[in-house]
């Protein structure tokens, strides 16, 4: 709409004030289209109703692809710094695939459960959706999340680059325990090998007791079907454990008597120590937190009030406490946690703060209900060296410059 159109419309308008403003010399200063009290959107019909909703064209935050020779064996990271609350929009859930995203017709998809069972069974999606279901909120985090923190901090690394391989959704599905009761796991069964239907038929061994405890075969994510990038139509969801073991596009569960030493639990996702030994079956994601606002790459406009906000989570249970420092670690104070604090889910924390304009460093640390404390980078490296790739849960620092710029810094 041009300014002339706007003026004409306003001239025929209902409100005397607007009319007055368009007459006389005030019009040059207070053009109706720029009056905050009378937004342009109020003077023409909006879009009609529609089928599947889009976000506002003004909202442009995106996942960021991490460079790789192949887009099919790569990752894309969630823009944590631009999110609110604790749920990650499905379209922004981080991705990590090893052989691309398969296109699967749900009517053709089957889940086979075989191996050490009384009755090997094949389930269609429709049959799985007839079974008793549960809905739970869980984070999924790649064990490589935070990997950059094994190296000294680069000033330009932002929250997305350092921590964007965690996301949190509401998942709906069938407990694996119910499925294993249907097939009747036999004596000697101790592990379950899960296999996906993607091009590498991604495979992981899952200890039977965890599978029987709280593991889901999920078909729902945030109220709708799983996204293709999250395993449509079926994925394993192993709460609190590293993302890779939550096998997507799940097609088979084979009940077996030992770990099958698949590539993903030997060559990958094992943590190399300085003495050359590697830790295996490091499934649990440790207590972790990151301030997302203000965070790397952002700019504080002026001294004054800013509520600090971030996410905390732990694969061992509930977040019990988050502590925040606004003076580079000299003192720590407790942040408020957003209720309800759910186990094995992202928890939003907030901390009221007023910036006095001087240079300082912000950081947060998570303490979970088991007493696990998020360590400093130095403490983590003292225990594990710098070559273990996975499971880095070091405290994240953000330096605020005198100019208001926020940068990544080690604390």
């Amino acid at each position: 709409m041009t300014g002339d159109d706007a003026r004409t419309k306003a001239g025929h308008g209902r409100r005397g004030f607007l009319k007055a403003a368009t007459l006389g010399s005030a019009a040059a200063v207070l053009r109706p289209s720029t009056l905050l009290g009378q937004p342009r959107s109020g003077r023409s019909l909006g879009e009609g109703v529609g089928g599947y909703g889009d976000r506002s064209p003004f909202e442009t935050t995106l996942r960021r692809v991490r460079g790789s020779r192949y887009a099919q064996a790569a990752g894309s990271l969630t823009p944590l710094q631009n999110l609110n609350g604790s749920i990650t929009p499905s379209a922004l859930h981080f991705e990590r695939h090893h052989s691309g995203i398969p296109e699967i017709d749900p009517s053709e998809h089957r889940l086979l459960i075989d191996g050490l069972v009384d009755r090997p069974l094949v389930f269609s999606l429709a049959e799985l959706q007839r079974m008793p279901a549960v809905t739970r909120t869980y984070f999924v985090e790649c064990s490589g999340n935070g990997r950059v923190k094994w190296s000294p901090a680069e000033p330009d690394t932002d929250a997305q680059a350092a921590f964007g391989m965690t996301s949190c959704s509401e998942w709906t599905g069938v407990p694996v325990s119910a499925l294993l009761r249907e097939v009747g796991a036999s004596a000697g069964a101790s592990w379950v090998v899960a296999e996906g239907a993607d091009a590498c038929r991604m495979t992981r061994s899952v200890p039977l007791d965890k599978a029987m405890d709280d593991t889901l075969v999920a078909y729902g994510q945030n109220g709708e079907a799983l996204r293709p990038a999250q395993g449509y139509p079926l994925r394993l969801l192993i709460p609190g454990w590293e993302g890779n073991i939550c096998v997507k596009w799940l097609r088979r569960l084979r009940v077996v008597d030992q770990s099958y030493l698949t590539r993903e639990e030997t060559a990958k996702y094992t943590d190399l120590m300085p003495n050359g030994e590697a830790r295996q079956y490091t499934f649990v994601m440790d207590a972790k937190s990151v301030i997302t606002r203000p965070s790397g790459g952002q700019q504080l406009d002026e001294p004054g009030f800013y509520q600090i906000s971030g996410l905390a989570w732990s694969g061992r249970g509930r977040v019990q406490r988050v502590e925040v420092t606004t003076d580079g670690g000299r003192s720590w104070a407790e942040a408020q946690l957003q209720d309800p604090v759910l186990p094995l889910a992202h928890t939003r924390f907030r901390f009221d703060w007023s910036w006095d304009g001087s240079e300082t460093t912000l950081a947060s640390r998570c303490i979970d209900e088991t007493g696990d404390v998020q360590p400093s980078r130095a403490a983590l490296i003292a225990a594990r060296g710098t070559q273990s790739s996975y499971h880095n849960n070091a405290v994240q620092g953000w330096r605020i410059g005198r100019d208001g710029r926020v940068e990544n810094v080690d604390v």
Binding site: R69, Y70, S99, L112, I113, R119, P120, L121, V122, E127, L128, R130, P132, A178, E182, V183, E195, A199, C200, R201, T203, R251, R252, R254, V256, Q258, S259, Y260, L261, T262, R263, T266, A267, T270, L272, P274, N275, G276, E277, A278, R279, Q280, T282, F283, V284, D286, E323, S331, W332, A333, E334, Q374, P375, S376, L380, A382, A383, R384, Q387, V395
Partner: protein, 188 residues
């Protein structure tokens, strides 16, 4: 009798055994799912365990595998398995405790069966599932040869593969976490 009614029969029996309905903390069997028949199970593809469970028949030597490897693998993994551009498959022995660890099949992998399982399901990266069982044995034999783990004429098959001594077999330990002494600071 169809497999469906067979399973339904079993479910009914179990339901009857459980009695009046819900057992504490347990849901009734639903009887859903169709009984898989043995012939069908084979079509789902191999899942191979460290004791060789799941390995199909077939065999090959590294000498036989060389041509296949050069044609189907070398462009991405290098003629000697060390040049890339994709994952290094060979070399790196005794590098794990250093500053530049090189994790390869020979230096890092604890079991040779993993190689058969993985190549069979995932390689060649751009043509997964295109190799026959014999071809997988051939590629596996050659990658093991590039790592000095078999001789050129050693037959690699379901019997010999699980018995290959991998150098880093004892290199893995269980998860000892929590293992980090967190930096202590005054509590609020």
């Amino acid at each position: 009798m169809s497999s469906r009614s067979l399973h339904a029969g079993i479910a009914l029996v179990t339901v009857a055994m459980l009695g009046a309905g819900k057992v504490e903390g347990q849901t009734l069997l639903t009887g859903l799912g169709r009984l898989a028949v043995p012939s069908e199970l084979e079509t789902w593809g191999a899942i191979v365990g460290p004791d060789g469970a799941g390995l199909p028949s077939g065999r090959a030597t590294a000498a036989e595998g060389r041509v296949l490897y050069d044609r189907r693998c070398a462009a991405c993994h290098g003629l000697t398995g060390q040049e890339g551009p994709d994952a290094r498959l060979a070399g790196g022995r005794d590098s794990l405790a250093g500053d530049q660890p090189r994790k390869t099949v020979g230096s890092y992998w604890p079991a040779a069966t993993t190689l058969w399982d993985y190549v069979n399901r995932a390689m060649p990266f751009d043509q997964p599932g295109s190799l026959t069982s014999d071809e997988v044995y051939a590629a596996v034999a050659y990658v093991l040869f590039l790592n000095d783990l078999v001789d050129e004429q050693d037959p690699v098959d379901a019997d010999s593969l699980p018995r290959i001594e991998m150098p880093n077999r004892a290199g893995f330990v269980d998860d000892p976490r929590p293992d980090v002494v967190a930096a202590q600071a005054p509590r609020p």
